[in-house]
Symmetry: C2
Subunit: 319 residues, 2 copies
């Protein structure tokens, strides 16, 4: 069983692209033809909606899996569809794993003791059933966590990770404007709060560093604040970093590059709408229709790969 960080870095190496395909599907994103087929096939509108999202996800995954090696489903969008959404999520993950992608479950879970264990089983592990059997429903490779509850909210996940070769990404410094409300508050010891969280993330990861030099305890560090990202990369040298905020949220490739190490490794950069709805720009330019979403997503994945790769090279040449 290969440790999570080794699998993550190998996946990125395979495609030479640190991009993460954020799968945050909304029905508005789905081209009309897919929606119409789903409506005709399924009488229940909730099921039809979930099936349309699933077909859209599957086709995006098929279009991108030679260019992008990591997928990050955002659980909120699936949860809007109840049981149908839960099935769509599980099928999306299974399809992406079948295509060789590493799955980061973006669930931002946080709870303690047996409840944290239940979340870990639900997302990364297996559930014990009434007949004595057990079943893995999602079997994701890693999950995002919110650390506000302290070690009690993280350690139960790490037990599951250690056993199954999986990982977590703890929110350290997020990409949104109001991250300043609490994360940036100055502590009595002079550090901002997010540096105290980073120190704990590094501590939890220290005994979990694998062959690639990175641990199974990752961090989420937004690309919108590159100065802080540089500090955090230094404070957490063995921590894989998941970088949101590139593209739709306005951060540049140079800003995202701050989370990479001197070898250009150790981070992955999420893109959700900019890949899922890449067709939008070209539709506006009159060059494509929404039905061409796959080729538009491929072009954008190549553009993003080249943009990030060049920025990472620039950073490490200048350093």
């Amino acid at each position: 069983m290969t440790p999570f960080a080794d699998r993550l870095l190998a996946a990125v190496d395979r495609v030479k692209n640190p991009t993460v395909l954020g799968l945050d599907p909304k029905i508005d994103y789905v081209p009309t033809s897919i929606r119409e087929i789903a409506r005709q096939r399924f009488a229940d509108p909730a099921q039809a909606t979930a099936e349309a999202l699933l077909e859209f996800n599957r086709r995006l995954i098929d279009a991108l899996s030679d260019l992008v090696a990591v997928a990050k489903p955002q659980f909120a969008y699936y949860e809007t569809l109840g049981p149908h959404g839960a099935r769509c999520l599980a099928e999306t993950i299974r399809h992406a794993k079948d295509r060789g992608m590493v799955i980061i479950a973006d669930a931002k879970r946080n709870d303690i003791g047996p409840t944290a264990e239940a979340y870990a089983r639900a997302i990364l592990g297996e559930t014990d059933l009434v007949d004595g059997s057990s079943k893995a429903f999602l079997d994701a490779d890693a999950v995002t966590l919110n650390g506000y509850l302290g070690a009690d909210g993280i350690v139960p996940f790490l037990s599951v990770c250690d056993r199954l070769g999986k990982g977590v990404f703890v929110l350290v410094r997020t990409s949104n404007p109001s991250a300043v409300d609490f994360q940036d508050l100055p502590l009595a010891d002079g550090r901002p709060l997010y540096e105290a969280v980073a120190a704990k993330v590094a501590e939890w990861g220290a005994p979990r560093v694998s062959a690639c030099g990175y641990s199974s305890v990752g961090a989420v560090v937004g690309a919108t604040w590159p100065e802080q990202a540089r500090t955090l990369r230094r404070l957490m040298p063995s921590t894989p970093i998941l970088v949101p905020g590139y593209g739709a949220q306005g951060a540049t490739a140079d800003a995202a590059a701050a989370s990479f190490d001197a070898q250009g490794r150790g981070a992955v950069v999420n893109a959700s709408r900019s890949l899922m709805c890449a067709y939008n720009l070209k539709v506006h330019e009159g060059r494509l229709t929404a039905e061409d979403f796959e080729s538009a997503a491929r072009s954008e994945a190549v553009r993003m790969r080249d943009d990030l790769t060049a920025a990472i090279r620039r950073k490490n040449t200048n350093a």
Copy 2:
């Protein structure tokens, strides 16, 4: 549409009991007879497990709804069963609402922008479907939130709450030992972090105070730290407080009473295992079997009501 806080306080008044029935079902808790019936009726072991949990929940709700007016399903336990769990959760909530209970969805969600809106729609609101219709899957009355992302993680929920008369409970000071890791860190201005979170919770709630004197923006404050709870009650005078930690986690009724106001209102106290598995103690005493879980839960709900009511009275007599 009655505001959430008015509905919450009226529900507690109806039964004269601030207890919240925490519905955190595990298959181990379910008496053998219920498990066996589910196994015989459903060939799929995951479905059988979910059906056993649902039947256990339903019978607990039926046994308690004249004594306990608020139910708090903990989402993690349902999520361990994938689509079957999602259905079990929705049916549990529907059954409890049919019995007049107010539902606090214990999901501790936290995300920003459109993702936060998606969670709000999934748990409190409605989802737009592919045929132009919309559907409420859970329709809970309130949801627990983690505020680490700042206002961007809270405000999208409040928009939904304002429109639908619903509420949120933001984690301020949790009941677990490692709450100290971050929540208690001293800030440069001398306050612990949780007081900065409390100030924001009070601020978000200020324009949302309804007839009862409380707002739709609640807080989670553990009973395990009564001194801090007294401070937080003072800092958030219009904030309804959800109190975990009583019973199984070791806090006394006197400790839980610290979150109530001078009129003995404004807080609710969760009990999960101590109600769901109340039969355990009596089984050990040789007086009951697990099949008597309903009468054991009723006895415990009465004991808890009297324990809390006496402690709240003591506090307000001594004050």
